[in-house]
């Protein structure tokens, strides 16, 4: 099976750069599964999980991104994300605490952070896509 080259880039550095089998990115209107030979798409992303699989469909890495953009063409998939964390480095209790703190504040900025934190919590609790 063919591979597709995948770049995950944050403003500070290049986080992931390798040939992989499949990537799932959280598109604004729904998740996109990207396989080699995908048509050319440019999509903006919502906060959520970016899942990277090897050629034989094993999960290689999973990240949480707080939004950004994806540029996909048949040979290459590039995700530009503003903040990227590896999913298994997230801690459930600290996120819950963050949500609680943010929930008590009321301004536009904290609302945005709150929605990101909620998406984070969802990202670590759900388990679909763990196997494809």
């Amino acid at each position: 099976m063919a591979t597709i080259s995948f770049d995950l880039v944050s403003p500070e550095n290049l986080i992931f750069n390798d040939d992989v089998g499949t990537i799932i990115v959280p598109g604004k209107d729904g998740d996109l599964g990207v396989l080699p030979g995908h048509s050319q798409v440019m999509s903006s992303l919502r906060p959520g999980r970016v899942m990277v699989y090897s050629e034989d469909k094993n999960l290689v890495k999973s990240f949480f991104v707080s939004g950004g953009f994806a540029e996909i063409n048949p040979e290459k998939c590039i995700v530009l994300a503003e903040s990227v964390v590896e999913l298994n480095s997230l801690d459930k209790s600290s996120i819950e605490k963050e949500i609680e703190e943010l929930g008590s504040k009321e301004n536009k900025e904290s609302e945005e952070q709150l929605s990101i934190a909620k998406a984070k919590l969802e990202a670590i609790t759900v388990s679909f896509y763990d196997k494809i």
Binding site: P11, E12, L14, D29, Q40, M42, S44, G67, F69, L80
Partner: protein
Amino acid sequence: MPSLKDIKTQINSVGSTKKITSAMKMVAASKLRRSQEKAEAARPYSSRLEEMLSSLASSAASGEGIIKLLTGTGNDQNYIVVPVSADRGLCGGFNSSINRETFKLVKSLEGNGKKVQLMPVGKKSRDFFNRVMKDQIIESFVDLNVSSTGYESALNISNKLQELYFEGKFDKCILVFNKFKSAISQEVTQQQLIPLDVSNSEKEEEKENSSNAIYDYEPDEETILKDLLPKNVSIQIFKVLLESDAGEQGARMAAMDNATRNAGEMIDSLTLKYNRTRQAFITKELIEIISGAESI
């Protein structure tokens, strides 16, 4: 004529200054390497973003809301100038050239009847413009430490700018910063940030159009553009901050290298003077003894 002791003290003090400057040079050199790495690491993101933007820019001829970041307000009466300087001194002409250039820019804009406001970044330009144009400063950002805090610092500035822009406080935003050319040379550069200067991305656009087939956009071009434009402002600022940071370290390294060399030269000449004075003193004593002995 200074006494021997005076010269000795002077030599010692120049010697300790030399030690400090050479230590600062070493520190600046290692910081420079780190800043350069940071600037290097940020490049893939910003170049990708620019590419995406240029392929989208054509789709927005005019519009309201966020698209204004690209198309402008249609006016050019009110300017905001953002000088980006360092927080610390002792880096040669790094800060003063920024301040001078900004001052000139502001004066020439005002000469054309425009209204100019300032938003200095970095202590050195804030302090300068606090002295000369205090009432034109609307906001200032100091102690950014872009190499340690990273993207966050750029985000603050960009959020503030966009807030002011959408309140209609200004029509055009110009950054004045030191572009990092090499470790020893920086170039004062002006860059128009808002509305986005498409003149240089247009070229890329042509390239893009010829080499790439048409993309599908999800959800649609306008939504992506709306997400992309504010991010582009932040990333441009981030890039400028990183360049300026690297430039600062480079300028400091060069300045401290010079200072160390000058201190060395000064020590040499002082040592020469010290030896001469000592010799003169000995000769004088000898003459006194001999003439004393002769008179007996």
